[in-house]
C-alpha cells in the first residue's frame, strides 16, 4: 500500500516538475510577453496542482489535505485573474 502511494507521489510530483520546467523554459525562450504569459499559467496551474496531488496521500489528517487543496485553489484563482489582467494590460500597451 505504502509502495503504491509512493509510486503515485513520484509520478504526480514528477509530472509537476515537468510543468515547472516547461513553464520556465517558456518564460525564457518564448518570443513575446503574451506567449510567455501562456507558459507561466501552465506552470502555475498544473505544476503546483500536480505537486499538491502527489502530496495529498501523504497528509497526516484530512484537514492538512484540505489545506493543500485550498492552497492550490487560491493559486489557481490568483494565477487566472492576474493572467487576465496582465494580458489586458499588454493589449492596451501598458507594460
Amino acid at each position: 500500500m505504502s509502495a503504491l502511494i509512493d509510486l503515485f507521489s513520484v509520478a504526480a510530483i514528477g509530472a509537476g516538475l515537468f510543468f515547472f520546467f516547461a513553464g520556465t523554459v517558456g518564460l525564457l525562450r518564448f518570443p513575446d510577453s503574451l506567449t510567455r504569459l501562456h507558459a507561466l499559467s501552465k506552470a502555475d496551474n498544473l505544476g503546483l496542482g500536480l505537486v499538491v496531488l502527489g502530496l495529498i496521500p501523504r497528509a497526516e489528517n484530512p484537514l492538512a489535505a484540505l489545506k493543500l487543496l485550498v492552497v492550490w485553489a487560491l493559486v489557481l484563482l490568483s494565477g487566472a485573474s492576474t493572467a487576465q489582467l496582465i494580458g489586458r494590460a499588454l493589449r492596451r500597451g501598458r507594460k
Binding site: 485550498v70 487560491l74 484563482l77 490568483s78 485573474s81 492576474t82 487576465q84 489582467l85 489586458r88
Partner: protein, 316 residues
C-alpha cells in the same frame, strides 16, 4: 550525505543574488519587484531555520505589504515631482562605500562563525512561560510575546500607533480629518474586482484561523493581523473599499484597542495576580486570546493606514 545541504546552499545563493539585484536594478519598479521575490525567498529560509512564525510574518509584511508600500509611494512620487533624482556618488565614494560595506559584512560574518558554543538560550524560561500557571500555550512564541516579554509587545503596538500618527501628521493642515488618497485611481478591471471579491473573504477566514491556532501551533496575532491587513488592502486596491476618514471614531478606536486592552489587562494583573502583566491562574489562556484578538484588530487596521498615507483632500 543528503540533498538538503545542496538545497540550502542553492537557496542561500539565490537570496544573495536577488538582494544584489534589488540594489543593482536600474529603476525603482524593477528593484521593488526584486524585493518582493526576495521576501518570498527569505520566507523559505526562515522555514529552514524552523521558524514558520517568522516566515509567515516576513512573507506578509516584509515582502508583500512593504512591496505595495514602495510601489504606491513610487507612483505618488512620480505624480509629485519631476523625475530628476540627485546625482549618484562619484567613483571614489562608491569604492569607499563598498569597502565599508565589505568591512561590516566581514565583521558580521566573523561574529557568526565564532558564535559561542554551546549557544546561550532563553528557551527554558520561555518554556516555563508557555507551561506557566493556567497558561498551557502550545506555541512558545505566543507565550514569549504575550507573557514572557509582554511589555515589549505592548510597547511595539504603541510604536505602530505612533507611526500612524506620524504619517498622518505630515499631511497638509487643511486636509486634517479627511481620508487618505485611494490606493488606485483608475477604475479597476472586472478580473481584479472578481479576484478581490473571492480573495478577501477567504483571506479573512485564513487570517482568523492563523490567529486562532496561534496559541498552540505556529501562527498568532501578528501573522493573522498581517494577513487581514493584506486582505483589507486587496479590497482597497480593487476599490471595493475606500480608506476611511482619519477622524472616524471607529477607526481610532480600532487602532488603540490592541495596546489599550493589553495595558488594562496588564495593570489589572497588579490586583488580580500580584504583578504587572501577570495573568491570574486558571484564567490565563482565555485572557491571552482576548488580548490577542484586539491586537489582531489593531494590526489589521494600522498596516493599511500606514500604506494609505496622510489624509488627502478636503475635510467635511
Amino acid at each position: 550525505m543528503s540533498v538538503l545541504p545542496a538545497l540550502d546552499v542553492g537557496l542561500a545563493l539565490l537570496v544573495v543574488g536577488v538582494a544584489a539585484w534589488t540594489i543593482a536594478a536600474r529603476n525603482l519598479f524593477a528593484s521593488v519587484v526584486g524585493y518582493v521575490a526576495y521576501g518570498l525567498l527569505l520566507a523559505l529560509v526562515w522555514v529552514r531555520l524552523y521558524a514558520p512564525d517568522v516566515a509567515l510574518t516576513e512573507a506578509a509584511v516584509g515582502g508583500g505589504v512593504t512591496g505595495v508600500l514602495l510601489v504606491t509611494a513610487g507612483k505618488r512620487l512620480d505624480a509629485l515631482a519631476s523625475a530628476e533624482v540627485g546625482v549618484p556618488p562619484g567613483r571614489a565614494l562608491k569604492i569607499l562605500a563598498g569597502a565599508l560595506a565589505a568591512l561590516v559584512a566581514g565583521a558580521l560574518a566573523w561574529v557568526v562563525l565564532t558564535l559561542p558554543s554551546p549557544a546561550p538560550s532563553l528557551a527554558p524560561a520561555a518554556a516555563e512561560a508557555a507551561a506557566g500557571p493556567g497558561a498551557g500555550l502550545g506555541n512558545p512564541i505566543t507565550a514569549v510575546l504575550i507573557s514572557y516579554r509582554s511589555f515589549d509587545t505592548m510597547l511595539e503596538k504603541v510604536v505602530l500607533i505612533l507611526a500612524v500618527l506620524g504619517v498622518w501628521s505630515v499631511g497638509a493642515d487643511a486636509a486634517w480629518g479627511a481620508a487618505p488618497a485611494p490606493l488606485r485611481k483608475v477604475r479597476p478591471d472586472g478580473a481584479m474586482i472578481l479576484l478581490a471579491q473571492f480573495l478577501a473573504p477567504v483571506g479573512l477566514l485564513i487570517g482568523v484561523h492563523i490567529f486562532w491556532v496561534g496559541a498552540d501551533a505556529p501562527g498568532g496575532a501578528f501573522q493573522g493581523g498581517a494577513l487581514l491587513a493584506a486582505m483589507g488592502m486587496v479590497a482597497m486596491m480593487a476599490r471595493l473599499a475606500e480608506p476611511p476618514r482619519i477622524d472616524s471614531r471607529k477607526l481610532r478606536l480600532a487602532l488603540v484597542a490592541g495596546p489599550a486592552v493589553f495595558l488594562i489587562v496588564g495593570v489589572a494583573g497588579l490586583a488580580l495576580a500580584d504583578n504587572l502583566f501577570a495573568y491570574p491562574q486558571n484564567f490565563a489562556k482565555p485572557l491571552i486570546l482576548f488580548i490577542e484578538a484586539f491586537m489582531v484588530l489593531s494590526i489589521a487596521v494600522a498596516l493599511p493606514m500606514l500604506v494609505c498615507g496622510p489624509p488627502n483632500g478636503s475635510p467635511k
